[in-house]
Amino acid sequence: MSARKRSRAWLVAAAVALLASACGGGDDDGGGPVGGGDLPDCPVDALDSASSDGPVDITFWHTMTRANEETLVQLTDSFNESQDRVHVNLVNNTSYEDQQEKYRQALGTGELPDLVQHQEIYLQQMIDSQSALPVQSCIDATDYDTSDFVERTLRYYQVEGVQWALPFNVSNPILLYNRNAFVQAGLDPDRPPETLEELRSAAQALKDAGFEAGMGLKLDAWHLEQFLALQGETFVNNGNGREDRATEVTFDNDAGEEIFTYLAGLVDDGLAITTPRDGPGQFDNLLGVGGERWGMTIDSSATLGTIFDLLSGGQYANVDPAVGPLPGRNEDGGVLVGGAGLYISATEPARQAAAWEYMAYLTSPESQSIWSAGTGYIPVRQSATEQPEIQQRWAEVPGFRVGYDQLVAGAENDATAGAVMGDMFGVRTAIEEAENRMFLEDQDPAEALADAADAANQVIQDYNDRIGV
């Protein structure tokens, strides 16, 4: 088939771009056709003729495991049974990182899926690979109404006015605290700290009441991104990479320095104890709350299911877990979106149309309600919150709605949309290394921040050089 051959040749070109982004090496290919006006077509009609002789088979690569996978299988089975135009085959590729590796290899061989779930940080790389049909094309082609989406989840996947992916599984950081510890420290358990100053004084009160520290602080680069966004500050230039390709970070300013100084102060004064982000100690910040070593911690809303299951019984009977929004938001800011989005990577028209149909189903209010109740992720549709599954879950454990409430609160701007840049993973690593030096080796916060900015700028520059822009 010549059409297939052509698409292969095109794929090889795309692979070169993405491989270059990962492995180094020169490439003279430009950033690709980004921007409105010249988007490829979304062939929504192709499905009508193709599905007349049986459903169109498409493949969806995902990384959901265990309970999350069970919910996804349940949703997909219902979809497959509900109509006879599209049949979806699920492929579990075990983790975001391994799947990204597999995807990159597949760009070279052409064995791409039709739909793929990529972690949020791969957005720029997906754009540069030119292997995805922008969802924007399909939204335009079907006059799809996106007004019901939680705006910030949608905006995360928008660059230069183009919607590249649809948000699917969303989480964000919350403040977890022990109500009983708050009572012991003379704090109001119904009023978790809202500002960074209140967080610090709450930590102080807990420490004064005899706790080892006020809070457990995971060593995670996410904190800097989140605290900046909460103040309406961007992370990289060119509108957080949303108006044009990001070329350098913007966090080496007063706001960034304040955050670093603040965090270093918490640790230096013994108000916070740092815990590892991964490895065997990755739950230490949560277990510290359970073991009453400290009274608060910050973690992803996605961990709440476990927390409430575990900390509310047995040996942790003294702990009464509760959830508050991430402290530190002002009127220009808002909490950032984490999680993953769905990209159409099919190249044949009927499969593209089929992938779009399934994607629209997965992000519908009904599906999102089932998805959110089954997994603990935050629904991406506002009207999903009126569905019975979520209503029930939120009634049972009110802490679950905090992640959603803080996502619809605050300002919508480039800062709260989140930063997009090439090799965000490398940038986070650079920040983490600087934070480690600051927390563990007593490096001066201003110096650590400057180092982090330099290292991050180098990562961005290297990526852009490899892509050839």
């Binding site: 265990r66 085959n89 075990t94 019984g313 942790y316």
Partner: protein, 299 residues
């Protein structure tokens, strides 16, 4: 030094005792050190077994529990079904046995040729074989993937999602050819000459004389191949989408959970996936050690 005949017998006895004591004191120490080291090696495995049986409350307890007071065998059945082990174990067995058999056969043939036959560029070709051992598998992934999904030169393959894609790239190994060449080199020339006099050709000599003589090396190579093939993760993940073809290491990774209270299931899966290897190691322990040291003291 032999005791002088003039020495009294009781003195001889005392000396013999002292000699024994000298010998046994180091032996005792040796066993003590080895026992401690064995405990160090076995402790993580013990913790994994215990962890797989703990209730969630104990799992997150600090310090961790070291004995399952209320063993949860259910974590094994959950790991078995959630990790698709019934299907994936069969696939792993098929893939591993094919790769092991392939590597043993090609290594015997290549090793025999390098050790016993004369042919042009023998040294050069052998060096090229050795060179493949220096190239990490990760470097060749891209070319191997292109080959199995598109073919090479005039050959067209479409081996994505097939057992061929999972096995063919691993049927030959430079390491195996090297290992067996060294083993075959130890066979005395005379044996070869005697076989020639009896009218044995190369293949007959190889099959009836040489291969039986290097059995320990072949057993060791089999175990290495088996271990390597069984533990493959990235390649099977890259070349399969179809659940019916995936292997047990992928199943194990699918058990990975971000939920704190499900670690017992992940640990149970780890033990299930490792069990066949443990059985194999116990069965072939002797050959494995003999095979490893066989070439080491070649005169």
């Amino acid at each position: 030094m032999p005791p002088s005949p003039t020495e009294r017998p009781d003195r001889q006895l005392r000396r013999a005792r002292a000699r024994r004591a000298r010998r046994s004191r180091p032996a005792f120490l040796r066993y003590l050190v080895l026992t401690v080291l064995a405990l160090v090696v076995l402790f993580p495995i013990y913790v994994a077994v215990v962890g797989s049986l703990l209730v969630p409350d104990q799992l997150v307890h600090r310090p961790p529990a070291l004995f399952p007071t209320d063993p949860q065998w259910g974590s094994y059945s959950e790991a078995w079904s959630a990790g698709h082990f019934s299907r994936y174990l069969v696939n792993s067995a098929i893939v591993t046995l094919t790769i092991t058999a392939g590597q043993v056969i090609t290594s015997i043939l290549a090793g025999f040729a390098f050790a016993m036959l004369e042919f042009p560029f023998k040294r050069t070709i052998f060096v090229v074989f050795l060179a493949t051992m220096m190239v990490p598998f990760e470097v060749t992934i891209v070319t191997n993937l292109t080959t199995i999904s598109q073919g090479i030169g005039p050959l067209h393959f479409d081996w994505h999602d097939t057992y061929r894609g999972l096995t063919v790239p691993f049927l030959a190994t430079g390491f195996g050819a090297f290992m067996l060449r060294q083993a075959f080199l130890q066979i005395p020339r005379d044996l070869r000459d005697a076989a020639t006099v009896d009218g044995y050709g190369n293949l007959k000599f190889m099959a009836l004389v040489a291969v039986p003589l290097v059995r320990p090396t072949i057993a060791a190579l089999s175990v290495f191949s088996f271990l390597g093939a069984w533990n493959q993760y990235l390649w099977p993940l890259l070349v399969t989408d179809d659940d019916r073809l995936r292997t047990v290491q992928i199943g194990l990774k699918q058990l990975r959970s971000t939920a704190l209270d499900e670690i017992n299931v992940t640990l149970a899966g780890t033990i299930l996936a490792a069990a066949p290897l443990v059985v194999l190691l116990i069965l072939f322990q002797k050959q494995l050690i003999r095979g490893l040291t066989a070439g080491a003291v070649k005169g």
